[in-house]
């Protein structure tokens, strides 16, 4: 596709500070390569991630959002990520039904020691988003 040459996907990573944020850090310090256009939002727990945040970021023009938290069973607050899973799974399915390509909203479990996994997840997300192209879902069209 034509846009591939100059356009790089802008991705928002919403990361739990106890695990995935540290995982991202590890990916950085151990020089794992992942797309540079990732903006990171640190949250206290994946359970804090409001679906509204995901939609708002797409509205503001991010090409994709990836939410990441501790593996099930490992939540610092015991159950936060289980609750997050319900909410995010439902949101993903519902957004798909509305017509938002599923590539744009991803979720993953990344622990503090999984720097490599983090880099892989982001690379995969970036690749998927490159397939679907820039996010023009909410673009203004002469309204």
């Amino acid at each position: 596709m034509e846009h591939k040459s100059e356009w790089e996907p802008r991705i928002l990573g919403v990361l739990c500070k106890w695990c995935s944020y540290a995982g991202a850090d590890l990916a950085g310090t151990s020089r794992k390569k992942y797309p540079a256009n990732l903006r990171i939002l640190k949250v206290p727990c994946s359970g804090r991630v409001d679906p509204l945040l995901i939609l708002k970021c797409l509205r503001l023009g991010f090409d994709g959002v990836v939410v990441s938290g501790c593996h099930p069973g490992d939540c610092h607050y015991q159950t936060g990520n289980y609750r997050a899973r319900r909410r995010i799974a439902l949101t993903k399915k519902f957004l798909e039904y509305i017509g938002i390509p599923e590539e744009r909203v991803k979720a993953s479990w990344v622990s503090a020691s999984e720097g490599l996994k983090f880099a892989q997840v982001v690379a995969e997300v970036a690749k998927d988003i490159e397939e679907v192209g820039p996010n023009k879902l909410f673009a203004r069209d002469g309204d």
Binding site: R59, L60, G61, R140
Partner: protein, 346 residues
């Protein structure tokens, strides 16, 4: 006042002539919702089904949302740009109640400060009325001193006489509009008589009434009666249907937006039914539902007449017809102590 006439099947031709100069707007349907929309250049089937639109024509002057200006920050500071809006439009088929509604809100938008967004559209618009020969059972325009065939607030008034329309030229602009149209003929005395019968029949079909005599004083006397207003407001769900769809409601909100460094200020409809409408950080003078319902009723029937000598209601009946809970202003007013109201409905 001179009268003309036109055959029904020639309406398309007349609209065609007007489209050369104006953006012609006619009743149309979108997803089953009757609204005023740009004429497609052919279809005049609305003459068969049209009674009234869901959203009154006020939205042609005060749209649900409009951009006031856009702004951008450069090296030397902020720059503001106002969208130009000079298109001449012609609305064909506005009902007398909605035309009166526009005349009523004109007063607000010209009071002290001229509202350029409203008035630029208003001044560039021709209103062509269509007598309401099949009013709804929720209509009560007669009580507001209005007839379903009233021609006072439009530039031309069309009245359906079967195969033909009688046209009244109520404004100078109206005469010019017909000058070039060969499909328009002079009306005869017989035509005028026929139209008169149609009009009388139409007026006779408006069954609902409210008692507007001293209504302001009666409401003033009730103002502090919390029990009364709580009872009146009990079933209201505080949505914006009655206000958004009211031809005389004009309240708006102003809101900024900034996406990807593109900024703009918008205004959009607002409603006194919403709690947020008057909410201040520390205090809300109309926090309770009954206070908001009271504001709505008193604004229309007490405050607006105090300010502008006219009741802010045209009896179009939308607030009754479209209310999710069938909250009925005519019942509310008839329950005001001292009101006489004859209602003939189920």
């Amino acid at each position: 006042m001179t009268t003309k006439k036109i055959r029904k099947k020639d309406i398309g031709k007349l609209l065609g002539i007007w489209s050369q100069e104006f953006s012609v707007i006619v009743p149309s349907k979108e997803e089953g919702v009757a609204k005023m929309d740009r004429w497609d250049g052919k279809d005049i089937s609305f003459l068969d089904w049209y009674r009234n639109t869901v959203v009154p024509s006020k939205d042609n002057f005060l749209p649900p949302m409009e951009k006031m200006f856009s702004f951008q920050k450069n090296r030397d500071g902020y720059h503001i740009e106002v969208p130009q809006d000079e298109q001449k439009q012609l609305i064909f088929g506005i009902r007398p109640c909605d035309a009166r509604g526009i005349a009523i809100i004109d007063k607000v938008f010209t009071d002290t400060y001229e509202d350029r967004y409203y008035l630029s559209k208003r001044k560039n618009t021709i209103l062509i009325g269509l007598s309401c020969t099949n009013p709804y059972d929720s209509c009560f325009c007669i009580s507001l001193g209005l007839k379903p065939t009233e021609s006072a607030d439009v530039d031309l008034m069309f009245t359906d006489m079967g195969d033909e329309f009688l046209i009244e030229e109520t404004a100078d602009k109206g005469e010019e509009l017909l000058a070039a149209a060969s499909v328009v003929k002079e009306a005869t005395k017989a035509d005028e008589a026929k139209a008169k019968t149609v009009k009388a029949t139409a007026s006779g079909m408006v069954m609902r009434r409210i008692d507007t005599k001293d209504v302001g004083e009666k409401l003033q006397a009730r103002f502090s009666d919390k029990d009364y207003w709580e009872k009146v407001a009990a079933k209201c769900i505080s949505c914006g249907v009655c206000t958004f769809l009211c031809p005389t409601c004009f309240c708006f909100d102003i809101c900024d937006e900034l996406v990807k460094k593109q900024g703009a200020r918008y205004r959009g409809w607002d409603s006194c039914s919403f709690r947020l409408y008057t909410k201040m950080p520390m205090e809300n003078p109309r926090e309770e539902k009954w206070q908001r319902v009271r504001q709505k009723v008193c604004h229309k029937f007490e405050f607006y007449p105090m300010n502008y000598d006219v009741i802010a209601c045209t009896g179009c009946g939308r607030c009754i017809r479209l209310c999710p809970v069938n909250w009925d202003i005519t019942q509310i007013l008839s329950r005001l102590p001292g009101s006489v109201t004859s209602q003939s409905h189920k």
